[in-house]
């Protein structure tokens, strides 16, 4: 099988292979309220990622023994369609998606007021229909909007993006080839307003200074993502008003 190869250089004349600057994010389209059955939903296209997030709840918990007396439980299922990646993947959860589901849930939970819905569950389903790099960040970003769309009480939105290193330079929002062959990848989720991190993972190599630079870039990236999220929700409500 033909395999994509590592390019000789990732940054040429200050521009990345897809023409972006180092601190530039890929094009993003986001739409809330796209599904009929779910209580809230959001479709996102971020680069070549195509992802749907949907929310059900608050609703009764099954099986019952998972209920908690003083709060709702949050469940988060990150799943990839079998055709979402180059080589068909077997349907169902694998180790990677189980870890992503866990850290994504922990990235979202801090902003939810779960104590308002004892004994119930809030279920977030993130379906990656096509995967470019950065699916967990895109999924968290969309899930956050879908929760707002479902009217779940939240203290804030969570915004997420990935930063990384290619050709020894820190760059924002890795694309697929940068992710596969770059030197480091660090997905970050934040509450932009408070400057608090709710997801932080890293692999590859960063010096401490690179990490600090990357974190700074992530902050600015999340801030842009936050604006897009807000605009998306506003246009949803505008549309509701005009209907």
């Amino acid at each position: 099988m033909e395999i994509d190869e590592k390019p000789e250089r990732f940054i040429v004349d200050g521009l990345r292979l897809d023409g972006r600057k180092k601190d530039e994010i890929r094009p993003i389209k986001m739409e809330a309220g796209v599904m009929n059955r779910a209580d809230g939903s959001c479709y996102i296209e971020w680069g070549n990622n195509k992802i749907i997030a949907a929310v059900y709840g608050p609703r009764e918990v099954h099986p019952r023994h998972l209920q908690e007396t003083y709060r709702a439980i949050l469940r988060y299922r990150y799943n990839m369609a079998s055709f979402a990646v180059d080589e068909r993947r077997r349907p169902g959860p694998d180790r990677r998606s189980i870890e992503i589901s866990k850290v994504s849930r922990e990235a979202i939970e801090p902003v939810l007021m779960l104590e308002q819905y004892p004994r119930s569950s809030i279920d977030v389903f993130v379906e990656v229909l096509q995967a470019d790099a950065g699916t967990r960040a895109a999924g968290i970003t969309a899930a956050s909007v879908a929760l707002a769309d479902a009217g779940i009480p939240m203290r804030n939105l969570v915004s997420a993006i990935s930063v990384g290193k290619v050709d020894g330079e820190v760059v924002l929002d890795l694309n697929k080839i940068e992710d596969n062959f770059g030197d480091a990848d660090m997905p970050v989720a934040m509450i932009v307003e408070s400057g608090e991190v709710t997801l932080l993972q890293m692999d590859g190599i960063f010096t401490k200074n690179e990490f600090i630079e990357a974190m700074e870039l992530a902050k600015r990236g999340c801030s842009q993502i936050y604006d897009i999220q807000r605009d998306c929700l506003i246009s949803k409500y505008k549309k509701l008003d005009s209907d």
Partner: protein, 268 residues
């Protein structure tokens, strides 16, 4: 009886009363489909894909191809594997986990139409007889379940196959990528019995109100290439010819909609 059960009982009665008067909850005729929306090729990374909406029912079909071994009893034929995922995003009644009997039945009905109609020429998918053949994975990802998954999924599957390119270059085969050859366009048409009437393309409420559904799959020539009765109801033998006439009729119409969508896609 829970309040939800009572509500659904009331809903059921309402649907029956309407049908007795020749009407349906969304104003359609008994053999009328909801608006059909076909998007060709939304998933560029798949070898082929299509997304079909029947009203708000929403199904995404993706086709991936790999090289594998043929079955020992058909050494010179490619292999089709059809799989359906009723992901919990699509309905509050779907649960995570391996496919249940409903998902398996759905995948097998879709598969049956494609296989029986010889829509894919399996002989052309042989690379090295007995050793290497193309495996065609048809994956059905149900996104929004508002009734009649069978027809939506069958349509998405055949549309995605039309859109499929054999990835020769990706697998190091010394040929350009080429379109998968499609020989037939099987169309599944499902109707559901309410008060002795068979109404087509049931929405979810109609599906829940009825006891039995019948799927008839129709080839381009107007033949039957698959049937499935589903549900605990009974079907009087004498009603079958009429249902089949309607199915042949509906199949023809839906096939035209698909062909138009494919045409528009190619010209774009």
């Amino acid at each position: 009886m829970s309040s939800e059960d009572i509500l659904s009982e009331i809903r059921r009665d309402y649907i029956y009363r309407l049908v007795r008067n020749g009407e349906r909850i969304d104003g359609r005729k008994f053999d009328e489909y909801r608006e059909i929306n076909i998007e060709i090729g939304p998933i560029e990374r798949a070898e082929g894909s299509a997304r079909v909406k029947l009203g708000t029912t929403d199904v995404l079909a993706g086709v991936k191809m790999q090289i594998g071994e043929p079955f020992p009893d058909t050494p010179d034929q490619g292999v089709i594997i059809t799989n359906a995922e009723l992901i919990p995003l699509a309905s509050p009644t779907f649960e995570p986990g391996p496919p249940d009997e409903n998902a398996i039945e759905l995948a097998r009905i879709v598969d049956r139409g494609i296989r029986s109609s010889n829509a894919i020429d399996l002989d052309k998918l042989c690379i090295d007889p007995g050793k290497e053949v193309w495996m065609v994975f048809i994956d059905l990802h149900i996104l929004d379940h508002n009734g009649n998954l069978v027809d939506a999924s069958s349509l998405a599957a055949i549309a995605a196959l039309f859109n499929t390119k054999i990835p020769n270059t990706k697998f190091g085969i010394d040929k350009d990528d080429e379109r998968l050859a499609i020989n037939d366009i099987p169309i599944a048409t499902t109707s559901t019995e309410i008060d002795n009437n068979f109404i087509f393309d049931p929405c979810l409420d109609e599906e829940n109100a009825a006891n039995v559904a019948l799927t008839v799959i129709i080839t381009s020539k107007g033949e039957l290439c698959g049937m499935q009765k589903s549900g605990i109801g009974r079907i009087p033998v004498e009603t079958l010819p009429n249902i089949i006439d309607s199915s042949i009729n509906m199949g023809e119409k839906i096939r035209k909609i698909l062909l138009k969508a494919l045409e528009n896609n190619i010209t774009v």
